[in-house]
């Protein structure tokens, strides 16, 4: 532990200095001189990605969602897993603290509510934006239908559908995804080969995630065999999930709202409405009954002249 910290501490000052010299005009404008510390070490104009992601979840998380989180952990060699966090209103502050404590630059926080709804927070640490998603259609890697497999820490290829460039908030989300899900080059845990590919695709205003294993016939490690690209096949590894963006905040786990999904309806509301509909059914029945009764009372039947014809 001690060693690691030393290492980071050693690197940070140089990075800080470099970045300060590089991007001064921008930051002076916004007044954030010393806060950006994660990104660049460009001493000789070379960019170095030192992204670190804290992955954690709220307490009382569903096992399925926990497995999803663990899958994500296994996919990101540059992440740090941490203990569960109590999901209360002050969680933002604690999370920020935690991220700083772990010297991470971004955070993935899986928040489970009511054992049913999973929210994913994607945050850039000290002052970057944060996005809150609702997660749907979760399939974990453990499912036997997903038959692929790949190296544990190989760097994934990231493919995006072109509609990420459609709007500002999509662009921002894309940038965040690139930084969080892309394994930094020359990360010490990473492996030098590429045998899986991530898919981020916007369909129906949701971001769909897929992970495929790549199988290509080849002999050498730096060349695909002739016609190999045509013979290339993909096998799905998992996990699968679908992200519905709810809000984008200016700060990490808080701050001004920059974007709000105009179509979003929370699952709570949906359930409530459904319940109401169900309740309404019974109420309607009762109402109809009373109405019928009232109608019968107000329009009594004429006494039938043949009623006691057969009684004698």
């Amino acid at each position: 532990m001690g060693k690691k910290r030393k290492h980071t501490e050693i690197i940070e000052p140089t990075k800080k200095d470099d970045s300060v010299t590089e991007e001064r005009p921008k930051r002076t404008l916004l007044g954030w001189k010393d806060k950006i510390e994660m990104k660049e070490t460009e001493a000789p104009g070379v960019f170095r990605n030192k992204e670190k992601v804290l992955v954690t979840c709220s307490r009382r998380i569903n096992f399925r969602y926990r497995h999803l989180m663990l899958n994500v952990v296994s996919l990101l060699p540059h992440c740090k897993k941490d203990n569960k966090v109590e999901a209360k209103s002050s969680k933002g502050a604690t999370l920020n603290e935690l991220v700083e404590l772990k010297s991470c630059s971004s955070c993935l926080f899986f928040e489970c509510r009511k054992h049913k709804d999973l929210y994913l927070w994607m945050a850039k640490s000290p002052n970057g934006p944060s996005v809150k998603f609702l997660v749907n259609a979760v399939h974990t890697m453990e499912e036997l239908k997903l038959t692929g497999n790949h190296l544990k820490a190989s760097r994934p290829l990231l493919t995006f559908s072109s509609n990420f460039g459609k709007d500002a908030h999509w662009k921002l989300i894309k940038e965040m995804i690139i930084q969080i899900f892309g394994t930094p080059k020359e990360h010490r845990k990473s492996k030098p080969y590429h045998d899986h590919v991530f898919v981020f695709s916007i369909v129906d205003d949701h971001i769909w995630f897929r992970n495929y294993q790549i199988t290509v016939p080849h002999n050498e490690s730096d060349k695909v065999a002739r016609g190999g690209l045509d013979k290339m096949t993909l096998v799905e590894v998992g996990p699968r999930f679908c992200l519905n963006p709810i809000k984008i905040f200016g700060g990490s786990f808080g701050g001004p709202t920059l974007y709000e999904n105009p179509f979003y309806v929370s699952p709570n509301q949906i359930r409530a409405l459904e319940k109401k509909n169900k309740a309404g059914k019974y109420a309607k029945k009762v109402k109809a009954k009373t109405r019928r009764k009232m109608h019968e009372l107000s329009n009594p039947l004429e006494p039938d002249e043949f009623a006691d014809m057969w009684k004698e």
């Binding site: 916004l30 497999n149 493919t159 995006f160 662009k171 290339m232 920059l258």
Partner: protein, 401 residues
């Protein structure tokens, strides 16, 4: 913003999850509940209060984005055009679009990497930790194998079913063919016979016909299995009956054995032994003729006597009954009696001309007359009495009037 396509993702996801075997019930129910509500709830119109701070977003993007000089090798990103809008609710199409996106992206990325001359493909002898454990992959393999097995089994079953069907058809065809062949043979034989007759081989006709009977008759001949006059349970095939009396010596012993075998059974089935057939029922050999005939005669004669005895009594009774009913009828009866007496007289007169038969009849009549005389007398007395009473009554009434 993507206002163009209204979202109904929940329902789609619902279907998507339903197809998955390993889906948990809880999850399914949850997603179902989502989907049910979703169709009504999903906001068709974007809410007006929704915040959209474009400048802020862009600024943030500027803040966090990597510097321009960061090479592609750091990002490893590929943007792929979606050819057309994908229908979310169509699982297959959606997944296919994801797959093609991944495939296209990988191709392009590999080309780039190849051009850079960097190693990017895993050598065959590079072993390292994988995302999924070996145990898990074993499970996956097992499942795949079992699936394949199931499919194969299903195919086999289907094949067998079809083969069975085909065999049936072939069988039907065969029987048809056989029948046809048989018919043809018979026809040909008939034709041949006719030709022979026409050509007039008078001398050989008999011989030929004999042969034909032998040849053609064979197909019509009844099978040996069942012989006429033999009960289905008889194992000797009717031999037992024929060999009732035995010959002397060795043969006798053997025949005895045969008889016993036929009677008590030696092999073959036993159940049908006592069952009658039409032949056995018609066979009256077991009955002695004399006994039955004598009995019948005796019975019929006695019956005749009885009927003769009873008949007159019955007639008298009927008379009595009618007499009691009405006086008028009694009068008529009286008249009848007179006429009857007259007839008797005439009979007496005719006696001279009568045949033997008539005499017999008269004899019978006279016999019955002896019985009737007393009765008649009684009747007449009774009638007179009644008439008298009636007259008296009538007179009385007249007198009263």
């Amino acid at each position: 913003m993507g206002l163009a396509h209204k979202e109904s993702t929940f329902s789609d996801e619902d279907g998507f999850e339903d197809e998955d075997v390993s889906e948990l019930n809880e999850e399914v129910s949850e997603s179902e509940s989502d989907s049910e509500g979703e169709e009504d709830v999903k906001l068709a119109e974007p809410s007006k209060q929704a915040v959209y701070n474009r400048d802020g977003l862009e600024e943030k993007l500027q803040d966090i984005s990597w510097p321009e000089n960061a090479g592609w090798i750091h990002k490893l990103t590929i943007d792929i055009d979606q050819e057309q809008e994908v229908d979310v609710n169509d699982d297959l199409k959606r997944e296919a679009s994801f797959y093609t996106q991944a495939l296209e992206g990988t191709r392009r990325a590999f080309e780039k990497l190849q051009s850079m001359g960097l190693p990017f493909l895993r050598p065959a002898d590079y072993y390292a930790e994988m995302v999924k454990s070996d145990a898990h992959m074993e499970k996956v393999k097992r499942r795949l194998l079992s699936e394949q097995k199931e499919i194969e089994e299903a195919a086999e079953r289907k094949k067998a079913r079809e083969a069975k069907k085909l065999a049936k058809e072939i069988q039907v065809q065969k029987t048809k063919e056989r029948a046809k062949q048989k018919k043809e043979e018979i026809e040909s034989v008939k034709k041949w016979r006719k030709q022979r007759q026409q050509s007039g081989f008078a001398g050989e006709v008999d011989k030929g016909e004999l042969d034909l009977a032998f040849e053609g008759g064979k197909s019509f001949e009844r099978s040996n299995k069942k012989r006429p006059g033999v009960s289905p349970g008889d194992r000797s095939g009717g031999k037992a009956r024929k060999s009732g009396g035995g010959d002397g010596g060795k043969g006798k012993k053997k025949k005895n054995r045969d008889f016993r075998n036929s009677k008590f059974g030696f092999g073959g089935k036993k159940s049908m032994k006592k069952q009658n057939t039409s032949d056995t029922t018609d066979d009256l050999r077991g009955f002695s003729k004399s006994d039955g005939a004598g009995n019948k005669r005796r019975k019929s004669s006695s019956f005749d006597q009885e009927s003769e005895e009873h008949a007159p009594v019955l007639s008298i009774n009927s008379y009595a009954y009618s007499n009691k009913q009405e006086t008028i009828s009694i009068h008529s009866f009286d008249g009848n009696k007179k006429s009857m007496a007259a007839r008797e007289l005439s009979n007496d007169l005719q006696e001279e001309h009568a045949d033997d038969q008539e005499e017999e009849r008269n004899f019978e009549n006279s016999e019955s007359k002896d019985d009737d005389d007393e009765l008649r007398r009684r009747f007449e007395e009774f009638i007179e009495k009644v008439n008298r009473g009636w007259k008296e009554e009538k007179l009385r009434t007249y007198g009263l009037v």
